[in-house]
């Protein structure tokens, strides 16, 4: 059941990622060079999400993907200290850039703990199995 929630949250990320890719594609005059990298990210996320229940490596990969997303937001915030640019926090930006990756990370971490027989980060032990 935890995997179901992770899958849905990853689908939300994929939808938002494809939209961002299309936005940049339009802005850069339809240059297909701007498709491949976001497309690879979407593909990797989809494959990892599909393998979550089978392979522990997929769980690790998914967590790594979320950490990369969080690093991106952190770098954007740091870049905001430059004179030519400022970091603009928006409600949706915080939700998708911080909330979503953190939620997926925590869910994956709990799944990891459950599979390794360790007590979950928090919550009921029975809940982990569901």
């Amino acid at each position: 059941m935890r995997r179901d929630v992770v899958l849905v949250l990853v689908c939300v990320q994929i939808g938002a990622g494809v939209l961002a890719m299309l936005g940049e594609l339009l802005f850069m005059g339809g240059n297909p060079l701007y498709v491949w990298e976001p497309a690879v990210r979407v593909l990797v996320a989809a494959i990892l999400a599909g393998l979550l229940h089978k392979r522990i490596g997929a769980l690790v990969g998914m967590m790594a993907l979320q950490v990369v997303s969080l690093i991106g937001v952190t770098l954007s915030a740091v870049a905001g200290a430059l004179p030519g640019v400022v970091f603009t926090p928006t409600l949706t930006g915080l939700l998708t850039g911080v909330g979503l990756p953190v939620a997926i990370l925590v869910l994956c971490l709990r799944e990891w703990n459950a599979r390794h027989g360790a007590p979950p980060v928090s919550g009921h032990a029975a809940e982990v199995r569901r």
Binding site: G29, T96, G97
Partner: protein
């Protein structure tokens, strides 16, 4: 504009009570667990997502007290439906089918209102829609035979909803811009378009009186006259290139080619009609004509001077910079950028159109069709203009 002010500007004032109520519920609901049994993870998520959606919808009439009774009844009805579904999710049964039906209906209703111009999509509306889509996705995952379809539907719904909001937001901005030739710019939220989706454009709200004073109107007129006179020396793009202005990245033609002078960007001068940071040309078929200038602040986040009060409004752009391949995009309504991109908001800017832009002398944009027609009539041959 400060970070906190930008954040708050993204939420329509009439939605602020609902935002605060939603925030409280979002913090509290995850701790709510039935005492008699361990809850399913999916049910707990549904309780939170649907509970927040319910709280926000029920609280919306608090700010929409001037709205129609029908709209307020719609908010309450939707809120109650979500509350009921959240309660069933708490009980652990009977919430999935209802959620899968109520969420699309709510989203369609919201989009109809947005597309018909009834509401400028704001950050709260988009955030709640995202939570509702996630709740519907979780609901579908638990319905037999709908697992794969649910995943595809979730990603598609996020993309399509975001695209419609994005297009609607730009259309509303362009429409508001086209009508801004009139001097009055209301300071209240009801009439001022602030691009609250914050997807590519960050508007600075005007907090003063809606109509300009005589002094402000004169200052705006003086700025326009002085700028127009000073720009007479840039008849074509050749003149601009000679003066140190450069072509934008990969764009040498179009109805609004923005040429930047890097030296003027860092000369410490603000709103200097003799040294505008950018020139805007219409360029096509070996001909060009100057349409206007863009004054740009040197530092991001620093508010530009507004001698004309509500007439001379500044805005900024929140952009995505992709690292590989290097490119520029704009931030989506979900506040995101493509993978391996950084986001940031560039310094405030203000357009002054020396050509008779029908949208007004200080409008944010120019109609491409009008620009092409103006070029056909007034354009001059330029050696460096793309043919």
């Amino acid at each position: 504009m400060g970070a906190l002010r930008t954040f708050v500007t993204g939420i329509a004032p009439e939605h602020l009570p609902a935002f605060l109520v939603g925030l409280l519920v979002a913090v509290g609901l995850p701790f709510l667990r039935p005492a008699d049994r361990p809850p399913f993870v999916a049910d707990r998520w549904a309780v939170t997502l649907l509970g927040v959606a319910a709280a926000v919808h029920v609280a919306l009439p608090l700010g929409h007290h001037h709205g129609s009774y029908l709209l307020q009844a719609g908010f309450l009805l939707d809120g109650l439906a979500y509350a009921l579904l959240a309660y069933f999710a708490y009980l652990g049964r009977g919430w999935r089918v209802g959620t899968a039906l109520v969420v699309p209906a709510t989203l369609v209703g919201y989009l109809v209102v947005v597309v018909r111009g009834g509401e400028d999509p704001d950050q709260l509306g988009i955030a709640i829609a995202l939570m509702e889509i996630a709740a519907a996705g979780i609901a579908l995952r638990g319905l037999p035979g709908w697992r794969i379809v649910g995943n595809i539907a979730t990603a598609t719904l996020v993309g399509v909803f975001g695209a419609i909001v994005w297009i609607g937001s730009f259309a509303a901005h362009t429409a508001a811009d086209a009508s801004s030739g009139a001097p009055a710019v209301a300071s209240g939220h009801d009439h001022e378009h602030l691009g609250r989706a914050q997807a590519g454009v960050i508007m600075r709200p005007w907090t003063g009186p809606a109509n300009p004073t005589a002094a402000q109107a004169k200052a705006a007129a003086d700025l326009w006259t002085t700028t127009r006179r000073a720009m007479a020396r840039y008849a074509t793009v050749d003149d601009a290139l000679t003066a140190g202005y450069a072509w934008p990245l990969g764009k040498h033609s179009g109805p609004d080619v923005h040429m930047e002078n890097k030296a003027y960007r860092a000369d410490g001068r603000q709103l200097d009609p003799d040294r505008p940071e950018m020139l805007v040309f219409s360029v096509a078929n070996g001909r060009s004509v100057l349409l206007g200038v863009v004054f740009v602040m040197e530092r991001a986040g620093e508010p530009g001077p507004d001698p004309g009060g509500p007439l001379t409004r500044w805005h900024a752009h929140n952009l995505c910079v992709s690292l590989y391949p290097p490119g520029i995009g704009i931030v989506t309504p979900y506040g995101g950028c493509p993978a391996l991109s950084l986001s940031g908001t560039i310094p405030e800017m203000m357009h002054v159109w020396v050509a008779p832009n029908p949208a007004g002398p200080f409008s944010d944009s120019v109609d491409p069709a009008w620009s092409r027609a103006y070029l056909a009539e007034h354009g001059a041959a330029a050696r460096n203009a793309e043919s």
